[in-house]
Symmetry: C2
Subunit: 310 residues, 2 copies
């Protein structure tokens, strides 16, 4: 029994993130009982088949009964409903957390439902892949990635430390900031990139002069990188856009402003300006690799024959 | 001796692409002599050290003397100068090709210098990585990728077939189209993605409210994907922007139009519109994987511990 052992963990939602947590908890022996709940009976059956937990319960309320740690891994637009549903069943002293990509909205939705004596500590593991659903998870997903906690003022220190220790046990490094700042940071590092990726793939899809088959065949020249993000779960990303609107609109405005400046340099053939813009971005790539957040292998270390036809 | 053996190949420019060709030619035994030329003496010395060819000649003109196949792999803005320089030394019957990312401009720059009896056939292998220079090349770079030839009207069929066979011997598949269409296709699949990537990395770098250290730490949530393209060679990309201006400006206009539409959906909370936009892009990713142009492994198959600290 480690320092971060919980008698009963309830996982509400068992997609990519929920099922990765389940797998890691099992691999590291962090819990006695792991109760898994999903509003989709199909997903729940799949989780059982994959042997992700120890109990499979359709009703979220029943799943959280007696749990010491409750982790909500649902699209952020569903957080309020889940909070309302589980509130009457939460055990005093339980830690309730989530993994949502927006934090201001999640706090606004969930906090009003949280009973006294329950430790509600919002969280967000900065990890994922373009795949979704319980089959997509894997125990090592959080290894070396950051998890951001956005505790509300007055949060119990012991509870916070237990939750941070839990994420560390999953391989994460843990940071803390307020929800508003989190939402600004994520708007630029995650939400804007996804929106831009979805957009450029849409633009390519709409062309009359270039066929879809050409876009696909020649995608290795850059385009294919964007299609990975644009293959992410549409429900999750719809909710992110709806629930981090202000920060996203600010980042979009800045992006468009910068793009107009770059476009003007192209139109007027300002080679020096273009060269300078294209030079300074190299340093950031280098820093990301040095910080352990990406690989230096060419093309992300893609297999050389990346799915070749033969 | 295979069907595509050349007595003497001259490689003008020995960066990522040139040095990958050199390595592949050597690995497959496609040439007797491989003369390598670079206007940078440092690069040429490095090529010699790496043992990429059989002769190392600073002057491009001397390098092409007696060559049956001349491949020019320089930033597209330098094509005209190279063409002028080598023209007097080209052997009648020689094939001259290039690997530039824009084709209309390369034809306009090079064609006027090409002597009668020389087969000038512009080309563009759709392959690369974010790394540059002679050390970055590898023999398998063209494996499974497309190479587009944009022959000028009246091009000798035998010469074209020899060049296509050469690319096939390097592992490429070969396509043919006119230069104007090539430039439109590449504007969407390659030039726009790179420009957008450079731009978003610049936008992130300029924020006052989010620190650079935060951008780097949390980059695994999407941003890091863009930094790879934005780490590409600035000279090459300055030249692409200057030499495919019209097609790029058209794609940028379409992209911005689509982004304004998406932005409006976010501002007005139109969840259905967002969901639809985010759904249709998944199919393209699937097609790219099915066509052998990307891997289905999560996160491009990045190592799980992607460059973790310690």
């Amino acid at each position: 029994m480690t320092d971060v052992y919980f008698d009963r963990i309830a996982l509400i939602g068992i997609g990519l993130i929920g099922s990765s947590i389940a797998r890691a908890v099992k691999a590291k022996g962090l819990a006695g009982t792991v109760a898994i709940s999903s509003r989709s009976r199909e997903t729940l059956a799949r989780a059982r088949k994959l042997d992700l937990g120890t109990e499979y319960i359709h009703e979220a309320g029943k799943a959280v009964e007696g749990a010491d740690l409750v982790i909500i891994s649902v699209p952020v637009g569903a957080s309020g409903k889940v909070a309302e549903e589980i509130a009457p069943y939460l055990k005093p002293g339980a830690i309730v957390t989530d993994v949502g990509s927006t934090k201001g909205s999640v706090v606004a939705q969930m906090l009003p439902h949280m009973p006294k004596g329950v430790h509600f500590i919002p969280g967000h593991p900065i990890a994922g892949t373009e795949h979704s659903g319980p089959d997509a998870g894997f125990a090592e997903l959080f290894q070396g990635r950051w998890c951001i906690l956005t505790p509300i003022q007055g949060t119990d220190k012991d509870a916070k430390h237990r939750l941070a220790a839990f994420w560390r046990a999953l391989g994460s490094r843990v940071d803390e900031m307020d929800a508003e700042h989190h939402d600004k940071v994520l708007a630029i590092v995650s939400h804007l990139p996804h929106i831009i990726a979805y957009n450029i793939v849409g633009t390519a899809d709409d062309l009359e002069t270039v066929t879809e088959s050409e876009v696909i065949k020649y995608s290795a020249s850059g385009f294919r990188d964007f299609t990975r993000l644009a293959a992410s779960d549409p429900t999750m990303w719809r909710d992110v856009c709806l629930h981090n609107k202000d920060a996203i609109l600010e980042m979009l405005a800045r992006f468009s402003e910068d793009l107009a400046y770059l476009q003007r340099a192209i139109r007027w053939g300002d080679g020096e300006k273009l060269f300078n813009l294209f030079t300074r971005t190299r340093a950031i790539r280098r820093s990301i690799i040095d910080a352990g957040q990406d690989t230096s292998a060419p093309n992300f270390g893609r297999p050389l024959d990346a799915g070749q036809e033969d």
